[in-house]
Symmetry: C3
Subunit: 429 residues, 3 copies
Amino acid sequence: MDKSKIPEIGNQLYQLIEKLYPICRSITGNGNRKTLQIIKKIIPIDIKEVPTGTKVFDWTVPKEWNINDAYVKDSSGNKIIDFKNSNLHIVNYSKPIHTTLTLKELKDHLNTLPDYPDWIPYKTSYYQDQWGFCLSFNDLKKIKEDNYEVFVDSELSIGSLTYGEYYIKGELEDEVLISTHICHPSMCNDNLSAISIATYLAEYIQNIKNKFSYRIIFIPATIGAITWLALNEKNLYKIKYGLVLALLGDEGKFNYKRSRLGNSSIDKLIQFVLSTKNFDHAIQNFTPYGYDERQFCSPGINLPMGTIMRTPNKKFPEYHTSADNLNFVKSSKLAESLELLTNIIDTIEFNQKYINLFPKCEPQLGRRGIYNSVAGNINDLEYAILWLLNYSDGNHDLIDIAEKSGLDLKLLNSAGKILLEKKLITISN
Amino acid sequence: MDKSKIPEIGNQLYQLIEKLYPICRSITGNGNRKTLQIIKKIIPIDIKEVPTGTKVFDWTVPKEWNINDAYVKDSSGNKIIDFKNSNLHIVNYSKPIHTTLTLKELKDHLNTLPDYPDWIPYKTSYYQDQWGFCLSFNDLKKIKEDNYEVFVDSELSIGSLTYGEYYIKGELEDEVLISTHICHPSMCNDNLSAISIATYLAEYIQNIKNKFSYRIIFIPATIGAITWLALNEKNLYKIKYGLVLALLGDEGKFNYKRSRLGNSSIDKLIQFVLSTKNFDHAIQNFTPYGYDERQFCSPGINLPMGTIMRTPNKKFPEYHTSADNLNFVKSSKLAESLELLTNIIDTIEFNQKYINLFPKCEPQLGRRGIYNSVAGNINDLEYAILWLLNYSDGNHDLIDIAEKSGLDLKLLNSAGKILLEKKLITISN
Amino acid sequence: MDKSKIPEIGNQLYQLIEKLYPICRSITGNGNRKTLQIIKKIIPIDIKEVPTGTKVFDWTVPKEWNINDAYVKDSSGNKIIDFKNSNLHIVNYSKPIHTTLTLKELKDHLNTLPDYPDWIPYKTSYYQDQWGFCLSFNDLKKIKEDNYEVFVDSELSIGSLTYGEYYIKGELEDEVLISTHICHPSMCNDNLSAISIATYLAEYIQNIKNKFSYRIIFIPATIGAITWLALNEKNLYKIKYGLVLALLGDEGKFNYKRSRLGNSSIDKLIQFVLSTKNFDHAIQNFTPYGYDERQFCSPGINLPMGTIMRTPNKKFPEYHTSADNLNFVKSSKLAESLELLTNIIDTIEFNQKYINLFPKCEPQLGRRGIYNSVAGNINDLEYAILWLLNYSDGNHDLIDIAEKSGLDLKLLNSAGKILLEKKLITISN
């Protein structure tokens, strides 16, 4: 990536976050539709609707949730909590209610963060017949004994689960799956950062001559991933590399979480990119907790799918609070995250496996004009040619050869093009 | 184990050693029968007799050896060596003799330990047409030129090899084999310590609701193990875990010697128990020398059978001498050894392998009331449930999952019970 | 090797180098024939001729090159470059030419080494329609503006490629292949050192009672190896161990370059010899560049064939220059190289795999008179016998057992002979 373009790209990524920040998203509902419509102005995603009641593995697509308003009013008519001020004030998926409660009764429905008294926590009540509000601990302390009018103008009704999908056809049927969750309201790092990155990464991919086919999905967490997997089960075999994107705008270093397979194609590739491109990073083993890798890497699905984050979930205090706001994410960090991901895409595209068509001894390169070594002198390209020929045995891809030889992937890629043209190797699919 | 009970348990273990100490055992004979009868008062072992001459692999059950008396008398009629004072004075399996010898002739039949001049060595002459005496080096120095009456009142006759076996049936046919040798006369660490531990460990097992079946065998070393293996060859496939017990009463740390397989079920399990339960210990690889692991881990038998000791054979000077006496073993150490072994049994019983019945994505735990996580909060049990579901793929047992997750085995066991009850997993046999 | 014999053996090795040094070798031609005739006076090699035009995999045996004379003469008739002074003055495989050139034109055909101004470089123009001269940079600087007569009295004609092969039949059809290149003119380390070592190593082998069959080949690099492999392809399966010899006379430590297989029979064996015999050494992984391991370890050939060198090619400045002369190689180092190689041969011969014929429990050794251990005492040979019996399971050879047990290979070999004689084990082929 051209270093001079980083400020511009960072701004673009940040501006999309700004646009999406006010919308109240959830696992279903109009907030998600609005979000996907904004993305669709940048990349031509399909917006899909899966009806309430659809069976997806052990789950069922739930009723659609929409909310117009919600507040708590004291007896003087003052709104002491007002959804209009923050989407986080309402426990996400709260059922409709209109009633009057004592302070004691009300408190059973209030959530705060005593350790961070200025912040509003983010809570959900999916699949529970519940309602609740969230507020700062400092605001809670101000609430006095009184009778309170509670109003949640939400709706739980037959509708659908909405997600976005963008398929970019390549030369091959083999697919790269990129997934990010869209169910979080008004939090920037989790997960508007990754939504923005995924959008502009898709834009990047559609402008290269891609060999692999790419599928970028914007889905609600858990139920969205389960729904997508259930509907697409018979095509999962096409997925050669997969990536879950999350938490890509904070100032922490990169964290790559391996696929459940532990040493899959994507694990090898991302570790290679992170180390050869000198991104500050850490690597973790798979755990069955976190984001949608929980589903993509469940034992009966078990895709070669890793997770790219900066600071992992629960490892920063702003996580799932109102402090995960527009100040928390940095445009320069967003730009660097996109840079890493374009490097990953480039490497996926480069990382061919070839078959040497002349595996018995070396083919005569000199007669084909691609080897001018005279008694012991050899240039880097000739050396790369020898490595590529020797290890193009069906067991080694370009990354393997780069790691064995210490040679640069681009140089090996150039060697590959020459050998292909000279019909000394063929592409292994 | 309840810490307050250790003195009591230690005393019990020690008292059994005291009771068995005076008996002259060998690879066959009445000493072994008497020993097994004493054990039978505590646990209901079967006492088996295998006739002299029985072919067992490359070996033959030898003649039975019994001894009434043995001494060396000087010309004045003083017994200068007297079997009645120590079972170790006679070379074990000495043939009968009654003769008169010069000192020079006698010396060819005497064994001492010049480095430890007060101790009597332990020697055997199995399968050799020999006789001999053992005495302290200091006593040897006192012996003067004289004619000596040598009398060994032993008998080598058609009889049988005697061993004890206690089978504790469990829910499964799968077996745990525990073996200890009973052929050593009047030495406490080698091997009355392990005989006592095996006896009370069997008592412990019969009082639990055991899933595995257990077989505890009390056998003479080498020929006893070979005999048992030859007679039971067709049932060896049932053995899922095996343990040789020896040298469990001294003050050294634990030494676990791996099975020949090197990374078998028992190896993984014992290393897990030793490290997670913080027993001071060392691990060694298999060597084809030591105790009956030589037979259990011979290449054509090759059981998943390790050896638990404290200080290994030949690594303490008292080994195979009269100094391996009632002062050398400590009741507190015996109690700790039993504690380790009960931990091993508990872990064997815990260490289930399950199969996730809903392997495609996570099953919906919330609807089954076993997952109350709200937007990013999760308790330890829920976390254990996720780990167990994800790795219950037929390839990982509970120890594997404990090692991968860092979670406690008991917590995973609790998670397993809940998931079994909810019919989300099944037991893998 | 008897230390007192090293000076004598070193001299013998050095004298053969002296004899071969003046000859102008190439990939074909009379120089090679003369070289092989000299070797044939020491060991009875077959000298083989493969006609020009023979197809060998992707290559064709080239025209034969011979040269009588070559010089550059100034206008006063002084020879300023004269092939008669050094074989390196002519670019190897230069086509015939007789012409007159200006200094500027001449310079296009001159090669020097500015960094080492006294040395003549070694250059080749195989498979190119070229001619050229090599000279020291200091000599180049002396050449003035003039018209120069250039004369290369060489011949490129239908003939053959010549190589030498010595097959030493052993008890087994299994073969050990030893290869060294003979195409370099007048350089001592590269590769007269290895030619001399290979010759005397063959003499050593023919004087032992060899179990393996040995094939020692003296071939021109690249085309010679390709030719040999193409002609012998159907017998390659017999090769159990292979070694490329090169660069064995300098003062550097040994460098072993692994086969492409990475952990093949030869790799394990040579690492074992180098470390247990305390030769100063380094180990490198395979790279598809260097000597004829490029062909022997191409992916479609992939023999268990490593390369033994001292300082590797390109890692010493004298490499491929006139400074790789009779002063550069040392007789003591040549002798040590031969010592290493005889150790390797001895270990290959020793390194038997046995099968225990009594794998169920230990066989009764005492009754066969080969185990006198009495209650815990055991000597080294008895211990070796137990190790050998336990691991003679078809998966472990003597080197594996030596590594597992820490026992000396000779001791294990003695144990093997005893157990063979007692019919307790058999040889595994």
